[in-house]
């Protein structure tokens, strides 16, 4: 059977499934780690696999031109979503590469101007590790600590600025707790001080309105697979005017992407990215309203339990995320107990190890409480029934674990656990 026919049949099956499907477990509530692809995105990508499959850099034939045109359209769609111009979009293999290119690229390009970078301890590892890399290469980095709700203040940034500061890099929406920093004000502050401003907006773009002009952003990383697009494709926004920003390429080669990122363009991936941006643009307002209502209901219900706390500032938060700590529950037991929902206890990138989340620790949580936290990331395909199930499932698991916990018993008996002297065995 023709591959297109098959794919389309699948797409229609899937759309139908979404309408009438029975509740299937496990329920996916980890949309901050990655999102399922929207069938409309896949449909847009398919022709570029084996019909319009050209290399966008081929200038001598129609296959090349068709591919180039598809990339141009996608670039416009991506740019439009963030109010940028298409020429300001550099396609990469994903947000991690974009973060690397922005931070290392600025550090190398502006070495003559200074060597100081300001960031925050709750950034994604892609930013923190890039900062560590520049420290090894003669750079100086200030890591600001957020308050207990994950927020940093303009004063903290102001105090950290030195004449050597070339870059402020602060994420738009946090991947673990969803906290939104005051990006427009930070951007303005950076601009006033003639310092470049980079933001990792991987979790925010496509979920809430992000406007590089209004937000005074000079460089911005984001990726397709966090917004129902394909894995392996992302972008770095690089401002072209007021000021014109340049980054040193981290990969050399054919000089693609205005010399900033060499390598044959991933045409189908880019087309998919463009489609995800277009869908986000059209549906964001409604979708975020729907998701925040679901998220609020989930949160409200879970907080009816004793000793459950929301991590991060509830006022400044992405609409689809909540991170909740359940006191007196053992972390590993919790993850095992909620196995019918797919959630994360830290960011996906560090969750392979059993280290407590450094983001939660930055907020002042102790190791135990950090371990007994769950991150819920709702998404486009989350349903009310799934939220009902999740509420019930988490409540049951937490209650069961607490029933078995001597600490919970002591707490219920009114014993102040801090005053207890533990005997070594």
């Amino acid at each position: 059977m023709n591959i297109y026919l098959k794919a389309l049949l699948y797409l229609h099956d899937r759309i139908d499934l979404n309408k009438n499907r029975m509740l299937q477990t496990p329920i996916y509530l980890d949309n901050n780690a990655t999102t399922p692809m929207d069938p409309r995105v896949l449909e847009e990508m398919l022709p570029y696999f084996n019909r319009s499959f050209g290399n966008a850099a081929s200038r001598n034939h129609s296959f090349g031109w068709t591919a180039e045109e598809a990339v141009d359209i996608a670039r416009e769609r991506v740019a439009k979503l963030i109010n940028a111009s298409p020429k300001e979009i550099i396609f990469t293999s994903g947000a991690t590469e974009s973060d690397n290119l922005a931070i290392k690229g600025v550090f190398e390009m502006y070495a003559a101007k200074g060597n100081h970078v300001i960031t925050v301890t709750t950034e994604h590892k892609a930013v923190l590790d890039s900062c560590k890399h520049i420290e090894k290469n003669g750079g100086r980095v200030t890591y600001l600590s957020p308050d207990s709700q994950g927020m940093i203040t303009l004063d903290q940034i102001r105090e950290a600025i030195t004449p050597e500061t070339i870059l402020i890099t602060i994420m738009y929406g946090n991947n673990e707790i969803g906290v939104l920093q005051d990006i427009p004000a930070i951007g303005k502050l950076a601009r006033e001080n003639n310092i470049l401003f980079h933001t990792d907006a991987t979790q925010a773009v496509g979920k809430i309105p992000v406007d590089v002009e209004a937000d005074h952003i000079d460089l911005m990383s984001f990726s397709a697979h966090k917004m129902y697009g394909p894995k392996g494709v992302g972008a770095l926004y690089v401002r072209r005017r007021n000021p014109r920003v340049k980054v040193t390429a981290q990969m050399d080669g054919g000089g693609h992407e205005r010399g900033m990122r060499s390598g044959t363009l991933n045409v189908p991936g880019i087309v998919g990215f463009g489609k995800s941006c277009e869908i986000a643009m059209n549906e964001m307002a409604e979708e975020s309203k729907k998701l925040s209502a679901m998220r609020d209901r989930l949160e409200r219900e879970l907080l009816t339990m004793e000793e459950a706390y929301v991590n991060g500032n509830p006022e400044h938060r992405l609409p689809h995320v909540t991170n909740i700590s359940f006191k007196f529950v053992e972390g590993e037991g919790l993850m095992m107990g909620v196995k019918d929902i797919a959630v994360s206890s830290g960011s996906a990138c560090t969750s392979a190890s059993l280290e407590p989340s450094y983001v939660l620790k930055s907020l002042g949580l102790d190791d135990d409480l950090a371990h007994s936290s769950l991150r819920f990331g709702l998404g486009r395909f989350t349903t009310d029934e799934e939220i009902d199930f999740a509420i019930d499932h988490v409540k049951t698991a937490v209650n069961k674990l607490r029933e078995m916990s001597p600490l919970w018993e002591m707490f219920k008996d009114g014993i102040d656990l801090k005053s207890v002297e533990w005997q070594e065995h």
């Binding site: 591959i3 098959k6 794919a7 699948y10 899937r14 980890d30 780690a33 990655t34 999102t35 692809m37 896949l42 398919l46 696999f49 084996n50 019909r51 499959f53 050209g54 850099a57 081929s58 200038r59 001598n60 034939h61 129609s62 296959f63 090349g64 990469t92 293999s93 994903g94 991690t96 590469e97 973060d99 690397n100 994604h124 590892k125 892609a126 930013v127 590790d129 890039s130 560590k132 394909p230 894995k231 392996g232 494709v233 981290q250 990969m251 050399d252 080669g253 054919g254 060499s262 390598g263 044959t264 363009l265 045409v267 189908p268 991936g269 994360s344 996906a348 990138c349 560090t350 969750s351």
Partner: protein, 386 residues
């Protein structure tokens, strides 16, 4: 109008159409295994399983161990990692390469030289694109412990490297050997145990796989640090959520290529020889860039040097109008006004028009005939259309 036109895609060295079986494997992953392989829940574990199965498949095809395969966003990134980490992490102070390399190697080596991190030494080449192996040996003797980076087959003219000689020279002088196998992986039965390189580069979209996916083979024991940092994926060698869809496509494409290698090699080699004789008969004065003997060049690439005529200026355009999709140089440089660095380096006659025909899994003899016929018609036509 366009739909009636017979189109012969003969630019498979630039990129290839994906095989339907690859698309099927990928769409299955998109719908069933969308998880992030780093997530600990079942969606993540399933994705991790799919990822590692793909790695195992690829490594067994090329005789490597799973841990020797580092997935990248493509050939350019893999080339960059091989060269940059050799310099940064493996104490390489000298890079020996050729002026015929792909820009991903050449520009990176030049960048290392410009920054003062390593010195660049270019080995001499002859007018067929063969390396001067005596000169290579001299350079390696002068700079023992250097990195030798030479491509297995040239992407523009197809000339093949004598891998065994390079391997011996590298071993004798304690050099590391990086081989850019972007044009040959899946076209020849490469087994790392006999091949003898320390690094090999592969890109999926050159072998009917997806764009945006490739790998670097890194020989066991070479300890490098990541170029892209932040997340610990790929055993801490390359941060970023794994493109499992692309990786599954890569594994499937390589598997198919190895399965069908024998037949394809024979089929396409015959096409190429047939095309050479057709062109010699139909186009008086035609010459060829690079080595065109059966064992001297990649069987999927044929680079012609057409006699000087005023028609050459619009030749590629007219070929496209006639439904023949070819390239003048490599795709990566085809936007540049200056000529091909490869053709310049082998001293090709600048007055002759270079046309690269490159073949793939979906090339048919009808495509070849259509290309030769169209070329003949265009060159014989009285007027040049502006």
């Amino acid at each position: 109008m366009k739909s009636n036109l017979y189109r012969a895609y003969l630019d498979n060295a630039a990129t290839t159409p994906m095989d339907e079986r690859v698309i099927e494997a990928m769409t299955a992953v998109m719908r069933e295994t969308f998880g992030n392989p780093s997530s600990t829940h079942s969606f993540g574990r399933n994705a991790k399983g799919v990822l590692e199965t793909a790695r195992k498949k690829i490594s067994s095809l090329i005789g490597a161990e799973s841990k020797e395969i580092l997935f990248t966003s493509g050939g350019t990134e893999a080339d960059n990692i091989a060269i940059r980490s050799s310099v940064r992490d493996l104490g390489i102070k000298h890079i020996i390469t050729s002026p015929l390399e792909h820009k991903a190697v050449l520009s990176t080596a030049e960048e290392m030289d410009a920054s003062g991190d390593a010195s660049l030494h270019l080995v001499r080449v002859d007018n067929k694109g063969h390396i001067d192996y005596d000169h290579l040996s001299e350079l390696a003797t002068s700079y023992p412990g250097a990195l030798i980076s030479l491509m297995h087959a040239n992407n523009e003219i197809g000339t093949l490297l004598d891998v065994d000689r390079v391997k011996e020279i590298a071993a004798a002088n304690n050099c590391l050997f990086h081989c850019d196998t972007v044009q040959t992986m899946g076209h020849y039965p490469i087994d790392v145990k006999t091949f003898g390189a320390d690094f090999l580069t592969c890109s999926a979209h050159k072998l009917s796989g997806p764009k945006g996916s490739g790998f670097l083979y890194i020989k066991n024991g070479l300890r490098i640090h990541p170029m892209i940092t932040g997340g610990g994926q790929e055993r801490n060698l390359r941060a970023g959520t794994e493109n499992i869809t692309g990786i599954v496509g890569l594994a499937k494409a390589l598997e198919l290529a190895y399965q069908e290698l024998g037949e394809e090699l024979k089929r396409i080699s015959d096409f190429k020889q047939e095309m050479v004789s057709l062109l010699k008969t139909e186009i008086p004065g035609i010459e060829f860039n690079g080595d065109i003997t059966a064992n001297g060049a990649l069987y999927t690439v044929l680079n012609c040097a057409l006699p000087p005529t005023e028609k050459n200026a619009l030749l590629l355009f007219q070929l496209d109008m006639a439904g023949v999709c070819v390239s003048g140089g490599s795709a990566c440089n085809s936007g540049a006004a200056k000529g091909s660095h490869v053709l310049n380096a082998i001293g090709a006659d600048p007055d002759r028009q270079a046309v690269r025909f490159s073949f793939g899994r979906f090339t048919t003899m009808a495509d070849i005939r259509h290309a030769v016929d169209s070329l003949k018609v265009i060159l014989k036509s009285e007027t040049v259309q502006a």
